[in-house]
């Protein structure tokens, strides 16, 4: 029996300083991951099965029970601007989105959004 796991990741990030006092950053990541079992071959003869009280064996779908397939997006956007000498304003947005395409005993699909603001004082 064969088991196959695969994952693919794409990511991109960039920093842009359009002005001396402003810096913009962005990151995007995408991951697709999957795992699956191959068909289980149950090759016991009917003659043997006939001797069993419970002879109704069937593993034809068992390989599908533990399949995994998920997609994940990671996005981060941030900006830093100089407001005065030694003082910067910082803004960022962070997203994680997980899509459980083939749930395994629990649907793990979920999402987290975080928005952050701050003032940075550099001594």
């Amino acid at each position: 029996m064969k088991n196959t796991a695969q994952f693919r990741t794409l990511f991109a990030a960039g920093t842009w300083k359009p002005y001396e006092s402003l810096e913009l950053q962005g990151e995007v990541g995408y991951t697709r991951a999957s795992e699956m079992m191959g068909q289980i071959l149950f090759n016991v003869s009917e003659e043997i099965l006939a001797k069993l009280h419970d002879s109704n064996y069937d593993l034809s779908e068992a390989h599908t029970y533990s399949n995994l397939d998920s997609k994940r997006w990671d996005v981060n956007l941030s900006a830093r601007a100089r407001l005065a000498k030694g003082i910067h304003g910082v803004v960022s947005y962070n997203l994680v989105k997980y899509d459980d395409v083939t749930p395994y005993l629990a649907d793990l699909s979920g999402r987290l959004d975080v928005f952050q603001v701050g003032l940075r004082w550099t001594l």
């Binding site: 300083k17 419970d54 959004d113 701050g118």
Partner: protein, 571 residues
Amino acid sequence: MRPNVRLTLLLFASIVPAVVWAQLTGSVQLGGHGAQEKDNPARASEYATTQSGPDSAVSLQYTGQGFYLGLDSLALSSERQDHALTIELGRLVRSHTTFSKLPHRLVHDSLANLAGAIADVKIVYATDMDPRARYGIRYDQFANHTDIQIPGASWLTISTDFREQWRQGHVQALSTSHCYSCHIVSQSRALDHHTKDAGLSATVTLGNWSVKASASTRDAREREGAPLRLYERAQHPALRTPLFDDRVTYDERNGPLPFNWYPTQEKDTYKLTVANVNFGGFSFLLSGTTSELTNTHTGNKVDYDGVSLTLARKLSPKARLAVYLRTYSFESTDYFYDSPEPAAVAGPYAGKTYRQRYGFDPDYLRQSALDRDVTEGIVRLTYRLGKLTTLTGQYQARQVDRANYQVAPDETTTLEQKVKLNLATRPVTGLHLQAFLTYADISHPFMALNAACNPDPLQTTPAPSPLAPGSVQYYQIHDARVADLTASPSRFWEARASASYQLGGASMANLSVSFWDGDNDDLDLTNWSKTVQAVTASVTWQPSEAIQTHAGASYGKRETETFVCIPLMDG
């Protein structure tokens, strides 16, 4: 307040800020964040805080006359923090302290697959006592390392290490009661696991020689009690009568019993290290460690003794030799398992135990699978083929001689040998190429001996039944298994290559490719094989001072093939 006291305070209050201000560098960020989660947090917020509120990020360094204080602090919420504090007093005392908090959200198994019945006789079902519970642990850790070195005796450094880790939260605790039916119960289990490490060491340095002696102790314990389960009465699944009392070691008659329980652990470690960076042209490191680990509840102990030696020297302007040797052993206390042996209360064998009925002896002396003597070594020769090209050849071997666990009939020893080649070159300016090739041969790798497949699945009994004398018991099916199984290769190839090209300035392109192919055809009835391949490409492009970009992609695939067996039994 007396005037001189007031003046002293005034002086102090004036000097300190002035002094501090003059030498303080770094940054302070204060702000706030709003977090919003949706649906299941186990993946999207696995290690992230989901709490909204104020946050801060501080990085401050203060350097005074002989005094240094460095603070790096990130406080996102009550569950996600990282702090590091470095204090140096004239470099006589150098102390680094960290404290961190990290949430780890865990999956809540729905147990939705556990529902099945065959003719209302063989039944499996599950009960989730806390279906809406969210599981997760918070890892908190405090650690400190301090060096003390005195100018008059600078050859001596005294060091202390302290670490305390807490793993607190709630986890899903499952327990299974069987025979009458298979009933899996899920409970929310509070966890408060605490590990404390404390160590003291002394390092003596004389010329190029240094000798370090250290002692450390660990205490790991769980402060929450284990959950309890009333295991259901063992009954014959078809007849619903207590014919199976002799087949279980406990059930509801024993009252609620603990499960998912962690013992308290104590560990003492002593270590001696001798080093010399130039000992007759060799860099030299000799290290010996001995430790004793105790499960304080059962009294089980594990003794570890290990010695390692690392040597390296330049053989010629173009050649370098490196050698690593290590030997270590584990020795554990044996444990005699004296199984409870209840008697059947009904049926034709009422009053008899399972041993009396089937001749099965459940008692045994548990000898640890950990006990072993291991010897391993690496010999590596690096040769510089040109100014920018090196070729490295490496031979690596490891022999594991287990005391109590067989990896083939009457065989307890595994010998693993690896040959590696590595070529690294910079053929043109900006281009760096590396290629690795490994071949490994493992004789008698770790495996489960006689793990599967009964060649005569039905035995000879036409109608197995607990009521039928001589009927087939599951332990007999187990004992008759013949196929060896494993998840370890007896040989494998690994090839890796990477290239990086400096496109100019800070722009760069990278490509990495790896391939692993292993199999085990030394098994008696079956084969096992695995291939792993991965490719990663990335580009960093900086078209101007103001713009920097980075992009990449990676792909990985693992294929494993194994033989699968299922026992056939009326039971």
